[in-house]
Amino acid sequence: MEVALNWYLGLSAILFSIGTLGVLFKRNAIVLLMSVELMLNAVNLTLVALSQSMGDPDGQLLVFFTIAVAAAEAAVGLAIVIAIFRRKLTVDITEINLFKF
């Protein structure tokens, strides 16, 4: 019995969906960013699984750049959360509605 590629892709789909649910459900802005990290992570798993099954290292190089972009995204996102927290004293996204009419 060998681990098939489909299992990795299915697990990645499940993790991505849980991340989607986190983005849709959670009200804490920091946990929202963590859910985005979870989704990026699921996509990375897909890339690595396909890259290894095809014997092509390009997918893993793409994962390398994805991790760099995720680090940049986390830094800027958390800085924005800190700036908003300074002004409104909350990270509840239902109360952060600057652009809402």
């Binding site: 849980i18 963590m34 940049a72 800190i82």
Partner: protein, 168 residues
Amino acid sequence: MAAAPFMFFLLATVAVVAAIGMLISRSPVYSALWLVLNLFCVAGLYLTLNATFIGVIQILVYAGAIMVLFLFVIMLLNLEALPRLEEINWTMVAGFALGVVVLSQLLYVIASGFDLPMEAMEATAETGSAELLGKHLYTRYALHVEVAAVLLLAATVGAVMLAQKRFQ
């Protein structure tokens, strides 16, 4: 070679449980710790795929640096768990339905079978080695590495600019 499926199912189960734990725990600190567990499990899955370099990078950068940044901000802001929502409003129902639709769509696409070489899953340890990846990274993808460096510098400067005490 019966150890490989066992390791996969163990790591996959713990990864999914940790992701759900991140979703349902109300304290942001617990969410961050669940996510760290999930990232470690995904790193283990990379190791089962023989992608050792990416697995190590995953632990170093994600679990080491990014999650420490998250935990640091959570501690810095002294956050407590948000109050529980009293009633289930329609946006939550719509969100749940949307998530289920996304999952079923992804699983349908995977199950409906694009013809991939399923038998090439064995071995190929050399495509995941740091030597080969570094060779590609600093020759064909040298420009991309430079762009990533500029991006990280811009993100660092932007984060400092946004987080400094200027908006009072």
